[in-house]
Amino acid sequence: MARLVFFSSGSGNTARFVSALGMSAARIPVSPKDTMPEPDAPYVLVCPTYADGEGRGAVPKQVIRFLNDPLRRGLLRGVIAGGNRNFGATFALAGRVISQKCSVPLLHRFELAGTGNDVAVVRSGLKAFAPFQTAA
């Protein structure tokens, strides 16, 4: 069962990060015409940020559509956000928005496709993450 759900656009940074984690993961499609993953167990969402200068539109529309479904949203346990620090105050803002909207913790933020450190922190963090221990 996929423990991670992620979105990644054509630039593929988040997809590269998730594949470096080496965990099973389901992808939210870029096109609204394709079918959404339907998780049936608790999962963590990995999501990049696409905000404008005012912070609007930080969460990609397809991720919002995915989370609008109460069943999918009910299984969300945490969020990991991608971005780029060069965006200043809106760095990885999607993580803060999702954390707040869905009342789940912001577990980690990383830049672009992440570093070796990010991979290590997220792997060990997820291994010890309580909501996953009880679920599986």
Partner: protein
């Protein structure tokens, strides 16, 4: 090396002898049979690549001008810098001005010819114009804070600085008309996502010490624009590289890493020359490594420098992204979750 700008045009030559009428008729027939290609009018409602519109929208809402930033509030702070710190700052900004000038007049226009979609052309013209705004803003900083004499001296320094000239030449070689379009994109990403950072370090450093904070606000606007430029050109590079054979892709990757090594060598010398005096060279180098890795990631490549070489001073990281405080659960020591501070969550697409 070719001249960056064509020489002013020669005085007009005398009118050529008139063409016989029969020849003229033939010429007209030829144009009718082989009409000159006219570009198709751009239709933004028919996209070949959604990314073009997404990036266009972000770039246009992010538009800014230096007049928007109250630079004059830095006058007092400027006076607290020691003379050598002021000289360093002006020099760093003339170096940045050169890179933005190159992107404005040569880099972005050179990539127009390689555009795959009409919308990509439109995005590139927006990028080209913003480069002119960037180059122009350093002069706004100068006219607000510095003496004309100091600034003239720094521009002379930049024209004579061998490292600055050498890195510009390596990039310009790839911008030449006959050069490979994919190599050109690699060079552009390296300029925008790597070469700027030896310079951007300094205003981030001053702002981390509460100095020149308005100037830092302006530089952050430039950094944000550059992030989108590097992202977009790197994305277009990846799309185009997908269509190549495995062997061609490998060649390009070798080229990219070699160019990165060459530029890195120049950057370390440039960094030493600028920052040895205030003892920051080591710190700037970590910042260079960190940014080199990000530039490579924009092209879809893996990092070159190991994490241990990229440990940037946390104060510089905080200066890059102020107000994005860290409560990340996995790196915190506590066991309780902190739900993020209130942020703008409105978006008509949410339905809860």
């Amino acid at each position: 090396m070719r001249a960056a700008f064509p020489a002013p045009s020669e005085p007009r030559a005398p009118a050529p002898p008139r063409t016989p009428i029969r020849q003229k008729v033939r010429a007209v027939k030829d144009t009718i049979e082989q009409p000159r290609a006219v570009p198709r009018a751009i239709n933004w409602n028919r996209l070949q690549d959604e990314k073009d519109l997404e990036v266009w929208n972000r770039l246009t809402v992010n538009f800014w001008l230096p007049e928007k930033v109250p630079l004059s509030n830095d006058v007092q702070s400027w006076a607290t810098l020691r003379p050598e710190e002021r000289e360093l700052t002006i020099r760093v900004f003339t170096g940045l001005t050169l890179l933005d000038t190159i992107q404005n007049s040569l880099g972005a226009p050179a990539m127009l010819a390689d555009a795959q979609t009409p919308h990509e052309e439109a995005v590139l013209t927006n990028i080209a114009f913003m480069e002119a705004v960037h180059a122009r803003s350093y002069s706004s900083i100068f006219s607000t804070l510095c003496l004309t004499r100091e600034v003239d001296e720094a521009f002379r320094w930049s024209e004579d600085n061998p490292h600055l000239q050498e890195k510009a030449r390596l990039i310009l070689d790839e911008y030449d008309a006959g050069a490979d379009p994919l190599r050109r994109r690699i060079a552009s990403v390296f300029l925008e996502s790597f070469l700027f950072y030896s310079g951007f370090y300094l205003p981030m450093y001053w702002s981390s010490r509460g100095k020149l904070t308005n100037t830092a606000d302006l530089i952050r606007l430039i950094i944000r624009d550059e992030a989108i430029h590097g992202y977009y050109i790197g994305y277009k590079f990846q799309r185009a590289a997908e269509r190549l054979s495995e062997a061609e892709r490998q060649n390009l990757k070798d080229f990219a890493f070699n160019l990165m090594f060459d530029l890195y060598g120049i950057e370390t010398r440039y960094t030493g020359e600028l920052y040895d005096g205030i003892g920051l060279t080591g710190d700037v180098k970590a910042f260079l490594h960190y940014n080199a890795n990000k530039a490579l990631q924009n092209l879809g490549y893996e990092a070159l420098f190991p994490p241990a070489a990229c440990e940037v001073n946390p104060a510089i990281m905080a200066a890059l992204s102020p107000d994005s405080e860290n409560h990340d659960f996995f790196s915190g020591s506590g066991s309780s979750y902190v739900i993020g501070k209130t942020v703008a969550t409105e978006d008509e697409d949410w339905d809860f």
